[in-house]
């Protein structure tokens, strides 16, 4: 899409010249320090507060109003802790492992469609990029667990890698129907096509949220969320850090800021996973049943960007809340249940969904359920 502005390009024009790659680096720093770090910090606070509410406790309430500054205190505590590498452990791999996890989680922020005007980069291969760069997390977990020279860690790391590699397949298969519908891998375009402007005729008119495009995408949207939970090692799929069996799994031997980086990586992954579900299935920045850009009055770009950002964040954070809620609702799966759920449950359903979506698109000439209802089946 021509009208979407890339961070780096906007920075270059606002701040007057300079080489683009410097602004690219600057925008990466802005994204990490302005989005990933605050989200990671506030997510730990939210997680503890929600857990406390569900278990009828108070939760953090000492630092700042309602304990909201707890995450800053935790960060200071982590920085002040002893930086410990176990004897016999592998120093180089132990140091590099958290970096893999954080890079894999934070690099995906570059393509998150926060708003039509707030995209790091609307890559041609946007969805593929997210799938590709997030695979960097699993070598990080595997190497970190091996370098700890601890059998619980190694078991956790092997479980984590096996789980991530297996659940990548249902995730990819759940994204395929969306690519079939949109005909592109560009996340900006995929979100744009989910607007509410059904008066528009033609194949590329908005067709409302992909979740309600046809019955098959309704199923695959939920499966994407489930498989995403497994990929981010959240309960009920938190076998890699199962505390009743493996002490704390792959991060047992990590202390101080290295442990903090693992935790930050995990929360960023959760955010990215929820943001991807939002962007691909829940209409991204669009407000339901409303098209703010064909309103009659033209709103200023900044206002539109802010409204879209708010909408995107509401949807994403609601999903993050569901992730935290599930943690205190569902028991953990066993390893064999985890694998049979993936290979005997999710993968066949996903394959059926891909086929079903293709048949739907062929039968109804690419029209969605909403288009069939509101525009009629005729041409």
């Amino acid at each position: 899409m021509a009208e979407t502005a890339y961070f780096a390009h906007s920075l270059q024009t606002w701040l007057g010249g300079g080489p683009l790659w410097i602004w690219g680096a600057v925008s990466a720093v802005v994204v990490i320090f302005g989005l990933a770090l605050p989200f990671g910090g506030l997510a730990t606070y939210a997680e503890r507060k929600i857990a406390a509410d569900i278990q009828d406790r108070v939760g953090p309430n000492r630092v700042g109003p309602f304990g909201i500054l707890q995450f800053l205190a935790d960060a200071v505590k982590m920085l002040a802790k002893e930086d410990f590498i176990p004897r016999g452990g592998d120093h180089f791999l132990f140091n590099i492992a958290p970096v893999f996890v954080v890079v894999g989680a934070c690099a995906t922020f570059a393509v998150l469609p926060l708003s039509k005007y707030l995209l790091g980069a609307d890559l041609n291969i946007g969805v593929l990029y997210v799938l590709a760069i997030s695979t960097l997390v699993s070598p990080g977990l595997l190497l970190g667990s091996w370098a700890s020279e601890n059998k619980w860690s190694l078991l956790g790391g092997l479980r984590a890698a096996a789980q991530i590699v297996s659940y990548e397949i249902p995730v990819a298969l759940c994204i395929l129907p969306i690519i079939l519908i949109s005909g592109t891998l560009q996340i900006g375009t995929i979100v744009e096509l989910q607007g509410w402007n059904l008066a528009l005729e033609g194949a590329k008119s908005p067709h409302f949220w992909n979740l309600f495009h046809n019955p098959f995408t309704l199923v695959s949207g939920f499966i994407l969320f489930i498989a995403g939970l497994a990929e981010t090692n959240r309960i009920p799929f938190d076998l890699p850090e199962a505390e009743s069996e493996l002490v704390s799994g792959f991060n047992t031997e990590f202390s101080g800021m290295r442990f903090g980086l693992f935790a930050l990586g995990e929360f960023c992954e959760v955010f990215v996973m929820c943001a991807m579900v939002t962007a691909l299935y829940l209409g991204g920045w669009h407000i339901p049943f409303l098209d703010i850009e064909s309103f009659g009055v033209t709103l200023p770009t900044l206002l539109v960007a802010l409204i879209q950002l708010t909408m995107f964040m509401i949807k994403t954070l609601l999903l993050v809340f569901v992730v935290m809620w599930l943690r205190w609702t569902l028991p953990r799966l066993r390893v064999d249940q985890l694998m049979s759920l993936c290979w005997k449950g999710l993968v066949p359903i996903c394959l059926f969904n891909v086929l079903g979506t293709a048949v739907w698109l062929w039968v109804f000439h690419g029209r969605s359920l909403a288009q069939l209802i509101f525009q009629g089946g005729g041409h």
Binding site: W21, N124, L128, A132, A161, T184
Partner: protein
Amino acid sequence: MSSGSQAILFAFQLMTLMSAVLVAFHPNILYASVALLFTFLGVACMFIFIGADFLAGAQVIVYVGGITILILFAIMLTQWMYKATLRDVRTKILLPVVACGLLVTPILLKTTRLIADLGPLGTAETMTAFSFSPKTQVIGQALLTSYVLPFEAVTILLLGALVGAVWLARPQ
């Protein structure tokens, strides 16, 4: 290409070459496989610089997310492997050098001739336009029209491999 992006490209090329050397000569097999991961990443970055973004994504998914993880798994599950130091590279040099020379020289000659036939790469504007043009669609259409037979042959091969793996791993 601006000098800035050329410097970044050079850094990636250096990373690819250095880690490839490490893969070949590091005595610890675990470190060698970690270096292999960086080689794959460097190759993916070079794909991006020539505008082959889909190829770069596929490279990272298949090689970093798949092959490297499998290699790491195999090493970690075989207990003697990561304690062993492999140091017998110096004793045999002549045969590998001759074999590699015979393999690599025709490829190098062929690619240099191909690159010479292509001519100059074009201006910065055409290169930028090319790198932002969608290529996934072109690849997909080529795979399902001109190259449909090799594509289907590969799918049957992969299906056979999958069935074979399940058959090998079945409970006895």
